[in-house]
Amino acid sequence: MVAINNLKTRSFDKTGIEKQIEEIVDRNDEPNWVTDLRYRAANAYDGAPLDDPVISDPLEFLTNHKETPADRIKSLEDLPEETKALLDKLGISELEQRAITGLTIQDDREMIDSSFRSQWEERGVIVAPMEDAVKEYPEVRERFSGLFTPEESKLLAYHTAIWSGGIFLRVKEGEKIDIPLHLFFLIQQEGLAQAPHIIIWAEEGSEVQLVEGCTAPVLPKTSLHLDMTELYIEEDARVDLTVLQNWPEYVHTRPTQRGTIEEGGELSITTVGLGPGKSNVTDPQYWVEANGRVEINSITLSKGESLVDLGGSIYLEGDGSSGANNSKGVIMDNSRTITRGVISAEAQETKGHISCDALVMNDGARMETYPGLSSSVDNAELSHEAAIGKIKEEELFYLMSRGLDEEEATQLIVQGFVNPVIEGLPNGFLDEVKQIIDLSVQGEM
């Protein structure tokens, strides 16, 4: 019985993937290598393993949740008010908004302002929608799927088969970009899964600060989001990436990040998860060469029935390399958050630190942390610390005894808790984040 069921599902699924690939290929007129990679991934799907606490089969999961997607956005004017307001708050001009939102709006390719792209190109930055990049820049081929294979897991196979949207960003050697570059893009497509592919490539000695906001105002209800970010940090390059996630509570998100940090390079990734969706499971991986450094910082506000499972493996492969994984969680309602960062010291005089702090706002909210440290050398310095607790009554009483009400006092304490992670964010962005935190806490009171 079971076998027959599986067989049925499988043949249906395969048709499903192939059908989706055909649609994408028809639409995009992409190079052969991209299409070949899609079919290779589709073929790998069945045999690929899947280790996910919620989704047993991405395709089966999706076919069980067919619902009508919302209206398509055809121009900037169709954007929901709150998205427009957010872009305004981020200080993104209308022209830039057109360019940025255009990056991923498939039917509105003409919206991409060529002057925007050429402006950046003059400064030594190539920034292009991934669909265009695979056609226009031959160097994308060697980087695309350079840090993973579709055979690794069903989610990666599915992503590779049906990816669409995303960004290719390349900062040329020695270029230091002094203003934060916003990669704010909207996801919409009629498929049941969204799978943008992002490549960030910082050449030797370059520096760039990126703010990536990803939202999906028109996602079909109960959908799956599978994005992939590949990061190539070359020698002595420095990349600061801030990712804002604010998913509606019916979306399952499975973001994947992979990065290599070459000698002396530095990568700092701060993920601000204001809305993790129904479930958010991620296990980013970074390989760090000599004297390189990677820092993963995250804030998670989990509420409702959300499940958040944050892995994160840092492989310290070069002498003197270092890594840190710092997570902070504000855990509300019946949500459950798990952190399981791992740092492996595989070379001389490497350093690693994992920290996990959580504020549990009420009974029923659950927090677990499983730090992992491993060393194969005798002179690595590895450490971890964790603190899980509720808001301290004495702090609350202190603030209230000066005339703040319970809600204001709680907001202040929660903001103080997340502040060390968010204080470096660009101003408009910071205000927005604070406001969302205040609203979440307000909802709890």
Partner: protein
């Protein structure tokens, strides 16, 4: 005008205060003295509405309004502010953003006025710009913590300010600044209630303005002028209690 009538307070299931009556007169600096464990801090925290201190009987009034069952927020807004014995540090919350928020809740201040006020009053208690830019009580010494409590009193200018041991863990310089702050509050019309078990702070205050209340086992056993403080310093609590027949 603060009036506590026939007050009973329970903490952690134990009755600490029974039938206490405390009506500190306005335009005075009141000093509550008593040995450790006599219930002085319990009184102060109960008056400020701490949720762990249960009022088992009696009534607390501020300017004729019953504040017995009000929340800490409402009590503060009614005009009673407590300066903590052990002010907690609050991670990541800057002193200035906090004070701005507190003062914004009071009408009539613009953002510029608030910042000016914080600077001015901060100088009065000898707090540097660098200290004011820190998070609440983060890395603060005992003296710095107590200065910040007095600063908040000066900024809020409450009807009644209770200072729970403003002199414990405090160096001489801080003691002077804190005393000056108390004098200033007094001049501005705040009824200041100081809880202490030392006479040190009182050496820096004008004795004429002081009323002393001796506290034992949750009760005020006697009230007098500043000479009472000298007596305690010479003889100790036990002998004074014996001599007045207060125990």
């Amino acid at each position: 005008m603060l009036k506590a009538d026939n007050l009973g307070v329970k903490a952690n299931g134990t009755d600490i205060i029974n039938a206490l009556t405390f009506n500190p007169a306005e335009e005075r600096i009141h000093v509550i003295m008593g040995p450790n464990g006599s219930g002085k801090s319990t009184l102060s925290r109960a008056l400020a509405g701490h949720p762990n201190y249960e009022i088992t009987g009696g009534r607390i009034e501020l300017n004729g309004t019953d504040i017995t069952d009000l929340s800490p927020t409402e009590i503060a807004k009614s005009g009673l502010i407590l300066g903590f014995q052990h002010p907690p540090k609050v991670e990541g919350v800057g002193i200035k953003p906090f004070l701005r928020k507190v003062l914004e809740a009071q009408d009539g201040y613009s953002a510029e006025e608030i910042d000016e006020l914080i600077k001015e009053k901060g100088e009065a208690v000898g707090m540097t710009e660098e200290q004011l830019n820190r998070n609440i009580n983060e890395g603060f010494s005992g003296g710095e913590r107590k200065r910040l409590e007095v600063l908040q009193g000066l900024l809020l200018g409450p009807e009644v300010l209770i200072l729970d041991e403003p002199d414990s863990g405090v160096d001489v310089d801080s003691l002077r600044v804190i005393a000056a702050g108390i004098e200033q509050l007094y001049e501005n019309g705040t009824t200041v209630v100081i809880i202490t078990h030392y006479g040190n702070l009182l050496n820096h205050l004008d004795e004429e303005k002081i009323t002393v209340h001796l506290f034992q086992d949750g009760e005020i056993v006697t009230t007098g002028d500043s000479s009472l403080v000298r007596e305690i310093e010479e003889k100790g609590f036990n002998q004074v209690f014996r001599e007045c027949g207060c125990n």
